[in-house]
Amino acid sequence: MSTESIAWPSTTGESRSFVDHLHEWITTVDHKRLGILYIVYALVFLVIGGVEATVMRIQLIRPHNDFVSPQVFNRMFTMHGTTMIFFVAMPILFGFANYLIPLMIGARDMAFPRLNAFGFWMTAFGGLLLYFSLVGANGLYGAGNAPDVGWFAYAPLTSQTFSVGHSTDFWTLALLVSGFGSIGTAINIVATVLCLRCPGMTLAKMPLFAWLNLVMAGLVILAVSPLTAAQVMLLLDRYLGAHFFDTQAGGSAVIWMHFFWIFGHPEVYVLVLPAFAFASEIIPVFSRKAIFGYPVMVGATVAIGFISMSVWAHHMFTVGMGANVNTFFVISTMAIAVPTGIKIFNWLATMWGGKIEFKTPMLFCIAFLFQFLIAGLTGVMMSAAPFDWQLGNSYFVVAHFHYVIVGGILFTLFAAFYYWFPKMSGKMYSETLGKLHFWLFLIGFHLTFDFMHIPGLLGMPRRIYTYEPGRGWDTWNSIVTIGVFFQAAGILVFLGNLLWSYYRGKDAGSDPWDAWTLEWSTNSPPPAYNFHLIPTVKSRRPLWDLKHPDDPDWKYE
């Protein structure tokens, strides 16, 4: 272990009661504790959202199944989408950003610690509000019902006429509330990265993790705000009789689509940029090489940030926007594949000639590279408007974006869990269980999402609760559902590994991977003030410089 004997304040003994601990966690403004709160909160919702997905897949395992009613099926896909995007993916990524950014840039906390706590609790209450709809949506008498308008809640389905009761209100309020939290956290990340870097860490010497999260936070600021505005409009429509999306009074249903996807598409990049951030930290360490093409990586990130603001209407090719608009969005959507492709080549070049160690985090990253490539390729296919006219709203689309979100984002998230678990807990995870998790999840993922493309190509629309036999969809749907059980088993192994390692794992030491960024220079888990002395850095890999004083990086950068 480290020579720095400074740990948590010595008052944190066993003598403290449970209430004291609870109070400490609830009132905390420490970025590491808030990070862990975000992550644990998101893991709870990951299980809930996963159960909802499983319910849908069991319903679709064979034609004319009646596991759940059509009404329940509608609620399931709405709640699954909303939960996974807003209450799993965003909080979990914010959690890692919160925990790691100050440690990586050599700061003692985020720029606005109380705003940080505010952001977390807004997100937390947003999630509770969404699920409170299960009991409260009909106004607390009798059984309520959950929102059932789909995760993008197209108008006019959300108007009072078609959405009676309060289920849609719970949906819109939950997103509004958690949106405020997200914007607050994003402001905090921007201010932290720009204002709290340790001496010597110029923008060109920041870890890529900080760069990618900076761009992600900028996208949150510019993309979640329109969603907030659109939710306010929807609330005005529903409560005060305004006519924004009321087609009977001359309002437009299509403008809701525009407003939603102006948020919705950059949101994909909000989620995937932190995934790139994990890959950009993990792949070099397990390839024993510095990242290939750092300036190009930064440039590609910023380019993705800009282009992603101008691709939203590719979700709307089937609406009929006219040839000129379609052409613009076809071209911009195809253009965004270029910086993303640059990134893939840079990761490959980082691995090329490296001494690759196939530890669990690296396995997940390698799978990510393959899967994200395929996800990107189906994305380019669908960016062509005529192709999209054929396959829009089919299971092909569902397969495509799950390939991005599960195959890309969730895989790197698992990599991040295994990579930083020793830092966050001070304990080493079980490599055997980690590999078991990897293989179970890999098999499950490919069974589910590879084969999901095919019924889509055969014309199976999304969001149907059952289908006729003999259309050629039956076998594919059964295989897809079987894959879900492999994934569920993988998730259980993963959660079991986290718990087992936390209580029984070996001490990890402060730097188990022989890594190069600043978070590995402090204790595991880091003390409340992170660093005994605020460090000074001279290169992008400060710990390499310290470990190899004879051949430091700053001589070459």
Partner: protein
């Protein structure tokens, strides 16, 4: 790897970074600007698409006086923060009060216009698309003026108790950034509602 030799060197470097207050407020302003953009787009999209009256040309007249008040408050808040940097707390308090008064006059202007529209012209948020977009856009801006006035008022209370010192100049600047933003948005809202929309 032994961590004993990983004690990081202490700094002797000349190292300056932007102030977190300014950066944070700028980021907030970016978010607010995005929200306003959506409401402005909705307003412009629905200009002339109302199925029934009243129309903007019938009932709206540009509020030049109140606009003048709000825009000049940007100047007075600038004078206020300059006074604070020059140690003259009395003049700071005076300019600050003038700023609040100008903001309050503007808010009165919006309120009286709404009162007239509702009671004389019968225009509410549910009357037609013009009502929907007009009240939401002008209301959103009015809401920001209210928030701004609440913040300015808090500083005023502290000033009266003599708690505002020169070391707070940075924070006062950050707050005045927000106020400048509220003023700048009004120029856009004015142009959209009273010039293009009519």
């Amino acid at each position: 790897m032994n961590t004993a030799d990983l004690t990081l060197p202490k700094t002797e470097l000349e190292w300056r970074l932007p102030s977190r207050g300014r950066v944070g407020m700028s980021a907030l302003i970016a978010a607010e600007a995005a929200i306003f953009t959506i409401f402005v787009v909705a307003y412009l999209f629905y200009v002339g698409k109302s199925l029934s009256g009243p129309t903007p040309r019938d009932v709206l007249s540009p509020p030049f006086f109140y606009t003048f008040c709000l825009l000049s408050s940007s100047l007075t808040i600038h004078f206020a923060s300059r006074s604070l940097r020059r140690w003259s707390f009395r003049s700071f308090g005076a300019w600050w009060l003038v700023t609040i008064t100008l903001g309050a006059i503007f808010l009165y202007g919006t309120a009286s216009e709404w009162h007239r529209l509702i009671y004389r012209d019968g225009l509410t948020i549910s009357t037609n698309l013009f009502g929907t977009t007009y009240y939401s856009l002008v209301g959103l801006h009015g809401f920001h003026v209210v928030v701004g006035l609440a913040c300015l008022g808090t500083v005023m209370v502290f000033t009266l108790f003599g708690a505002v010192k020169q070391e707070h100049a940075e924070r006062i600047d950050v707050l005045s950034l927000y106020w400048h933003f509220v003023d700048a948005v009004w120029i856009v809202v004015f142009t959209v509602v009273y010039v293009i929309g009519r």
